[in-house]
């Protein structure tokens, strides 16, 4: 076997993709921030921003090894040790085989996934979460849920010759998840549902107006998410190649179709296509195509996106039927969209498109792949939901997960951060103190 040498093109693409994926988290802060009321926009954004801080630090200390180590030779976790990044800046990535990119580039790219996943959860518990409790939750949750689940899904093991050590069990089982339908979206969606149940409903839910305070912020956020998602999906090829281009194109067309699908449901059901609908539809399409983007043909991506936009537009109404306050529809968009995206590979997967993928039902592959996809989706869903319920329950019983009633009613921004988002007139007066 010839020695693999570092590829400048692949490395440049993965580093650029890492930056794109990082941008998604501040983008999410805007997307979520616009959707809450003016009195809690800063807290909503701060939940995303502090997640970048907490997860990045934990990643460089031990998170990377826990997710992508192979030393424990376990299918459940990587290794319990320091990440040890920087031992060799020239070391290449080995994830089920050598990639011609530095291990550090791979570690940086995967870090951004670990950052955005807990940030996604925050939308379920808007307006009412104690900030320090959230920051602690993020550290505990990534340690017990994200890092291990990332190992199950994304770790293909250290391959030397024909020997693979430390591959994750869903990866080894052949569950196809290119960029994180299970590890990121189902994981965050199930955790969001668990926390929405632990924290309870916002004061005044289904009685007071809780309409979004700034649709332009939501649209800026959606735009940044869409832009960054090209790094998320096309960067997951870990190289500048045809698969990256396929993932890029599929990401675009699925998202576009999903935005149209959501608008169609709104037009037929409510009479008006809305800007929140087009933004939400786009995100639901991005979610659904995430696991499938490198395994399906572009025509299939259009169908996957269209269906995602339509079912998510209907799914966001479920919280009113089942009476839980998933404030910004993490369940309706990420859990439902993520499950659909994972299952969709079982129908549309094509080994003619990507030789590492199996054929789904529509390509004569039978139900084998669909069965694997369903297993992967529901295993991650169940683990994340139960583990998050336990973590959330303990945090709620010890330090408390929710702000006081008065603070929630008056506005969490001032209570938790001593700031308010908007000063639209100069009538508040006052002056500088110190």
């Amino acid at each position: 076997m010839s020695e693999v040498v570092l590829s400048a093109g692949d490395t440049a693409w993965v580093l650029a993709s890492s930056a794109l994926v990082l941008l998604m988290t501040p983008g999410l802060a805007l997307f979520y921030g616009g959707m809450v009321r003016a009195k809690s926009v800063l807290n909503m954004m701060m939940m995303s921003m502090v997640t970048i801080g907490v997860v990045s630090v934990l990643w460089v200390i031990y998170g990377f090894k826990l997710a992508f180590g192979y030393e424990a030779n376990s299918q459940w976790y990587g290794a319990i040790s320091l990440s040890g990044l920087g031992s060799s800046v020239n070391e290449l990535t080995n994830n089920g085989g050598i990639y011609p990119i530095p291990l550090l580039a791979f570690a940086a790219f995967q870090l951004m996934f670990a950052v955005i996943t807990p940030a996604l959860i925050s939308g379920a518990i808007a307006d009412r979460t104690k900030f320090t409790a959230w920051a602690i939750f993020v550290g505990v949750w990534v340690t017990l849920v994200y890092f291990p689940v990332a190992h199950w899904v994304f770790a293909f093991g250290n391959k030397v010759g024909d020997t693979v050590t430390g591959a994750g069990f869903l990866a080894a089982k052949g569950v196809e998840d290119f960029a994180g339908g299970t590890a990121v979206h189902i994981n965050a969606g199930a955790a969001g549902l668990a926390l929405a149940l632990i924290l309870g409903k916002r004061v005044g839910w289904r009685r007071e107006s809780m309409r979004p305070h700034s649709m332009p912020l939501v649209l800026i956020g959606a735009a940044l998410l869409w832009f960054g998602w090209f790094g998320f999906n096309a960067g997951s090829s870990l190289g500048a190649n045809g698969i990256a281009a396929l993932a890029f194109m599929n990401t675009q067309v699925a998202t576009a179709a999903a935005a149209l699908g959501w608008l169609l449901v709104e037009k037929l059901r409510d009479g008006h296509p809305t800007s929140l609908g087009v933004a939400s539809g786009a995100v639901s399409g991005l979610v659904a195509i995430t696991p499938a983007c490198a395994f399906v043909a572009p025509w299939a991506a259009v169908v996957i996106g269209l269906i995602a936009g339509m079912i998510c537009a209907l799914a966001v109404g479920l919280k009113y039927k089942f009476n839980f306050d998933d404030s910004l529809d993490v369940v309706g968009v990420h859990l439902v969209g993520g499950v659909w995206g994972c299952l969709s590979i079982g129908f549309f997967g094509s080994s003619a498109v990507n030789s590492i993928g199996l054929n789904g039902i529509f390509y004569g592959g039978g139900t084998t792949l669909l069965g694997k996809q369903a297993f992967g989706a529901f295993f991650v869903l169940a683990y994340s939901f139960i583990a998050t319920l336990i973590i959330g329950f303990i945090i709620n019983k010890t330090i408390g997960f929710r702000v006081k009633l008065d603070a929630e009613v008056a506005g969490i921004d001032y209570d938790q951060h001593a700031e308010t988002a908007y000063e639209l007139t100069s009538s508040s007066r006052g002056g500088f103190i110190s």
Partner: protein
Amino acid sequence: MKLVTAIIKPQKLDDVKEALIAAGITGMTVSEAKGFGRQLGLTEVYRGAQYKVDLIPKIRLEVLVTAATADKAIKVITEAARTGNIGDGKVWATPVDSVVRVRTGESGEAAV
């Protein structure tokens, strides 16, 4: 002297202002207001959830006129502010006891 007060649609402010000036009635005070009338607000839909919006943005327009001009002012405002749709607003006049022009100290109709 009369104070003519009008609640109108914000987008009709320029039309009303120009019509009053054209009719020789100058001077007005405008404030942004919110309220509802017989239609009781409107409904907005976000992700399929309907929210009632009770208080709709309006312009509150106040014009101080002599008693003789009040009816003309009301007529001009009514015609300029009308779209024919719900939410066009209302115009009314109230008697005013005294008026003083701050700069000169003039009072009564001379100050209007």
